[in-house]
Symmetry: C2
Subunit: 795 residues, 2 copies
């Protein structure tokens, strides 16, 4: 591989090129201001009138000129070196800048032909911005060249690294605003380069853009001195370069020089690593600190108050341009200061000599296929999941560790795709803990710092990404998927809430992307949540939280899937299925502890394909209507339900019981709500129209009501689940505390079947007695009752 | 104020004191190992037998000896200087260490008398650890001296800073594990000292404990060289001190020396600041990098594999001590290596000369009242909220900005409590944006970096905490509340999801604390969520998410409250009420934009006290049963509902309509589910038993079903809310996209009242026509229909 970052002999920017770049920058600034303000008169061919101004002014100017400055200089270096570069725009509210630049380079009009080059298209470009039915004021899926939504701040740098992994020729230029730099996730992201291997991965060039202010405050990093900044980023392992000032000519010269140095440094690091000269050392990658005024080139003052180089330029620097002639004059002077006649030809197109500064074809950052990863996505190769099935001689007769079995499958997915370098497994230091350790037969954890002789499964070439940060795992994976690759994220169930908001934003990205025909599908983001609420034997309440499912269930139906496989073979089907899907988020919840196994592979396939179904072998309703439906979703609820059924059949042998297990949770919804929804007739056939349903569910019970409230039999569904009772105790005691255990479930059946409690008071007493014995036993001996374990293993 | 950190002349630790501290440390280590392993034979008076070992071994050894080492040395410095110190234990799984130390110092037995000092108590101490009905393996509310749950990692340092604000005499020693140091929130927390004023706040002494490994991996920071670490923390603005090694004698000497230096440095900074000598400069606070082996003093190898100084010591270093004699021998040798006879007297109590190392009374870190903040909590002084009421001449006749009105009240809360220095307002750079700017009449934003002449409302003495990190705001506030103070957090609604998991953990902390009589109530954590889903005029889908409410509603009923005040006067009542509560989390959702105002202060008080109620002035059911109930919760849904009612009354004048508004969302639940729940009779009287209810709700519609599904009339409740349709558009168009607008609501009423659609087809056509016109208008003109604005303001 020849690093594309090497180029011709470096030389200082000459006066002619400086002038051209400055004009290009002015064009981008002009178009940015136009988007924020103008409804019409885009080229200022006549004096600005009130009716040319949008009735509501919405948008963010402050960060934009700096973003435009960087874009122009990246264009230069791409052309000079034929470099393969994408632009991750952290200060996402700089949407007008990213739109302006992709418009100038032609990609915007190629994707959106109605926003054509020329005056008419420019008027539409201006009008659509922050306008009903138009485009948001921040970088979004609609923005060409973007893999990063600029709404919620914190994830620019992790997305950039995710894009760079396994893309050896790519340079991801990542602009980080000084507001975003205050967030936790961004602060943690600076360590990402310690997981990036120069020999096989691309490069990230962080550009910390210090323009000094947030909405209404200075920023912490901007008020740090250069010495502290240099020390900070040196400490993080980077080689910082500074570009500081406000005079355009000097800044152009310095930025060009620094970018040359940075790209040379990257080229050198990559060349050494790829020639095997680097040994195993964590290279000191370049990063740039760019200090430029907020609202640079905008109005210096408005109404006597400082605007340029201050937070007042954050959004709309001069606000009443429609109603106030003086304000409109400020705007007009400002826009004319860019000299549009010098930038655009008579038709309103960018002048040829400026257009010549733009890279060609897919080298244009707005057209780079890495930023539309579906274009590059190669189908994942998967083995036949049936080959990993565990033999189940009879339901509940044998134990197994579901996630461990899945680990063998993932190991071979890893092997099969090694040659394409497009599959990675992510987790916060938990791959082994989550029993997926067999993947280490195929690969290691990636590790670029020092490796010691006694270290285990660490290598610069590993494809398991482990860092104690859910944010980093999630962000890297998002970046990896959005650039066309595949991945798998395993996490403790309770702590996946750490990335709730990232999940939300990724779901929103997918929701919008799917509506854009030019964005090609990307692989789904698949979570395996394990170490779940029911098995926190020593961790207690802080580790007991199944609520992520509820967050997921709030999303648009077709974006999400939730699976609760009750055993290893169902987990295999689900895992395999999820890895083959695209443009979705899949959530799988499954335990990592030894558990009874229920279904053979063939049974598992039938069951999972249907999403839910009756388990005949556990039921005794023999084709008729049952007296009670015992439903379950989740591995522990399934075990407890079957134990409850066992108790009921022993004690009330004439009770007709139907056992229904649900794997695909959203299939509980009506079909008009979710594409996987079971049709009403099938649902009624399974759950009956009027018999009591005792539903044992993994998470918060409400969700089952929410999913089924339009179903015929909804009023008879009685859900047992997690009700936030937890502590340090045995798994079985956890179910008792939340009334999800076999005794409570059996007692519920007795209660809800009309007349049964009265008919069988001795059974109620017996079950209640067993519960009491448990309470006694668990306090006295500190473990489950032996009979429970016996039942599980020797049924 | 005399800083308590100054002390007598420093001198090196002499041999005798070193020996004593080492013995004390060994005692803590001994008790830690005992907790992990032993059921009985706590003092090893007989050889260890299988039955002395717990049947399940659960716990975390690896981090513990380092935590014990720090504890012993902090005891020394507290005694030497009469310092007021609390210990925030970031490596929370080191629970055995914190329990051991508080037991050694006597606080544990004072709080839990059954865990007495002496052999019998020691046996109970050992047995309860990670045992059903016992204590978790990590630091938890049950642990004396703690304000920090050691489950989810990332928040140790923000909690520490929160505790230090406005506690000028306090030093918060904050131990940060090298695992936790990889998280985003912790990484971002290093900047917290730039918001800490040495003149009025206490000090935080971060101790970065690098023991090298996480669960199954090295840590990123531990494998950094000292030079990079020094550079990193210098860059963050600290003065780093290093304590590195594994030989106890040398380590004791070095730790004592460094702690002396650190406390002297703190004393110097504080003395300068308090004497006015510091000027306005951000002082360079000390921090300590402690490198010590993971599992220090534990088994070096087990079964031929490296354990000490490696990740295999993370949990239980030698696992099969019950079943395997050789393993048990390793354990016994390990425990005897601490020489228990040298540590404990014949009765099993810590020997007197070691007990003499412990500080006295509330200087003991387990007994420091700051770590049980309710002991120190002073009631917040509040003005009469009625004084801030806005005059409402008639419903909907006047506009107002609800949060701006609340800002005037908060300003005076700030003024009233200035003298007690116990109230702060937190927000991610959004106080002004959220229209709470009037608080700046009373105080400023705290800012310790450079302040420039043109800066606005920045001061080292400010009590508004603004940083662009929801994690920092949340964590600081938690620390501030848990140490007995008061606060208020305003945030954009969509981005509060960033701290979902912190909210979860704080709710769990409160849930457990409330069960512990010795933990005194602390003030509630109150959120104002604004810039909400319905008013994201230029931000689009990424800023549109009302799902935080759903997360909150999953929590134990009495821990949480959710309020949706529809206007300014109701918001005043709610804000005032929330600030007076304790041990809860209050969520208030209210818009910041100009909105119609509905209720006079007297009406607002009556309405809010009931939690929900009929609005007579908007209803025409005149004491009888209505044909339809138009219910609403949230400001925008309320406005749209009243507009829908207006349309219905115009077009179907004989339709009997009842308008019900809900402020206290959880009052919708039955009383047996929530203490605020309306009783069934009152609910039925309000919502009827059988009439259709069209319910316009602020968030995801399912929640209303979930809260009301046990109510008589549940099947007739038809909820309109946010269904994840969003984009950059006008507020009114947002409601249309989600069918929450007046036309859809009126059409729903027509649909659900039996026979009405058939009776009034022309009304359906008219309303449908208006919707069509909206779609046309919004695309063409880009703003709401003028009639809509007219209606709002001129009703």
């Amino acid at each position: 591989m020849t690093p594309k970052t090497t180029g011709p002999q470096r030389q200082p920017l000459d006066a002619a090129e400086t002038a051209l770049i400055d004009r290009y920058w002015r064009a981008a600034n002009y178009l940015s201001v136009g988007q924020i303000y103008l409804l019409d008169n885009p080229l200022l061919r006549e004096p600005l009138k009130a009716e040319h101004i949008k009735p509501r002014l919405l948008g963010h100017w402050g960060t934009t000129p700096g973003l435009n400055f960087i874009y122009a200089h990246l264009n230069r270096i791409i052309r000079a070196r034929d470099a393969d570069v994408i632009y991750v725009c952290g200060p996402g509210h700089g949407g007008p800048g990213m739109v302006a630049n992709t418009y100038l380079e032609g990609t915007y009009s190629e994707i959106y032909p109605e926003i054509a080059e020329g005056e008419k298209g420019m008027q539409k470009l201006f009008k659509q911005f922050s306008f009903p039915g138009g485009v948001p004021s921040h970088v979004a899926p609609e923005t060409p060249g973007s893999i990063h939504e600029g709404g919620e701040l914190g994830y620019a740098l992790v997305h950039a690294y995710g894009a760079a992994f396994d893309n050896p020729d790519l340079v991801v230029a990542c602009v980080i605003g000084d507001g975003e730099a205050e967030t936790g996730p961004l602060s943690g992201s600076w360590q990402s380069h310690k997981f990036l291997n120069a020999a096989r991965d691309g490069a990230v060039l962080p550009i910390l853009h210090l323009n000094g202010y947030k909405i209404a405050n200075p920023t912490v990093l901007a008020r740090m001195g250069d010495e502290d900044l240099r020390s900070l980023f040196t400490g993080y392992g980077y080689q910082p370069f500074f570009v500081e000032g406000h005079e355009p000519q000097k800044m152009h010269a310095r930025m060009a020089e620094v970018l040359d140095e940075a790209f040379d440094t990257i080229a050198g690091i990559q060349a050494d690593a790829r020639a095997g000269r680097a040994g195993h050392a964590c290279p000191r990658w370049p990063m740039i600190v760019l200090r430029s005024p907020k609202g640079w080139t905008g109005p210096k003052e408005v109404d006597g108050l400082k605007v340029e180089d201050f937070w007042r330029s954050h959004q709309v620097p001069v606000s009443n341009c429609r109603g106030d002639d003086a304000h409109r004059k400020i705007l007009e002077d400002w826009m004319r200061s860019y000299d549009p006649e010098d930038l655009f030809d008579a038709s309103g197109k960018l002048k040829d000599e400026l257009r010549a500064l733009v890279p060609e074809g897919t080298r244009r950052m707005g057209a780079n296929p890495h930023a539309n990863g579906g274009l590059l996505r190669r189908e994942l190769e998967v083995p036949d999941f049936r080959d990993y099935a565990i033999a189940v001689e009879g339901p509940g007769r044998k134990g197994g560790q579901s996630t461990k079995v899945l680990g063998t499958y993932l190991r071979d997915v890893m092997r099969l795709n090694e040659k394409h370098a497009n599959f990675r497994v992510f987790g916060p230091d938990e791959t082994e803990s989550n029993r997926l350790g067999d993947v280490f037969q195929a690969t290691s954890r990636v590790w670029m710092e020092d490796i010691r002789p006694y270290d285990v499964h660490l290598s610069p070439d590993g494809r398991v990404m482990e860092v104690l940060s859910e944010h980093l795992c999630q962000g890297w994976l998002e970046g990896y998927l959005l650039t066309g690759r595949h991945g798998f994220f395993s996490c403790y169930e309770a702590f996946i809430h750490i990335i709730d908001s990232m999940f939300n934003q990724h779901a929103k990205w997918l929701q919008v992307s799917r509506e854009l025909p030019w964005r090609k599908p990307v692989s789904s983001l698949t979570y395996l949540l394990t170490s779940h609420v029911w098995r926190q034997d020593h961790n207690g309440l802080s580790h007991q939280d199944p609520g992520f499912i509820d967050l997921v269930a709030n999303k648009k139906a077709d974006i999400v899937r939730i699976y609760l496989p009750p055993d290893a073979n169902t987990l295999l089907w689900v895992g395999d299925h999820c890895l083959k899907t695209y443009d979705r988020i899949n959530v799988i919840v499954a335990g990592k502890q030894p558990e009874p196994q229920w279904l053979s592979m063939d049974e598992a396939i039938r069951h999972c394909e249907a999403g839910m179904g009756k388990w005949d072998w556990a039921s005794n309703d023999e084709g008729g209507e049952p007296d009670v439906v015992m439903a379950c979703a989740g591995d522990v609820p399934t075990m407890e339900t079957l134990a409850a059924v066992d108790l009921l059949r022993e004690h009330v042998p004439d009770l007709k019981i139907r056992v229904v297990n649900v794997v695909d949770l959203l299939a509980l919804q009506p079909q008009y709500r979710h594409p996987h929804g079971l049709d009403d007739a099938a649902f009624d056939a399974l759950f009956t129209k009027d018999r009591p349903v005792v539903f044992a569910y993994h998470g918060y019970p409400y969700l089952i009501h929410r999913l089924t409230y339009k179903r015929t039999n909804h009023d008879n569904i009685h859900v047992h689940g997690f009700v936030d009772e937890g502590t340090t105790t045995t798994p079985f005691d956890m179910t008792v505390m939340n009334e999800l255990d076999r005794y409570h479930l059996a007692l519920a059946a007795l209660k809800w079947v009309p007349g049964l409690e009265a008919r069988a008071p001795e059974v109620v007493a017996e079950l209640q007695g067993r519960l009491d014995a448990h309470h006694h036993y668990v306090r006295a001996y500190g473990d489950d009752m032996p009979e429970i374990r016996d039942w599980v293993w020797n049924r």
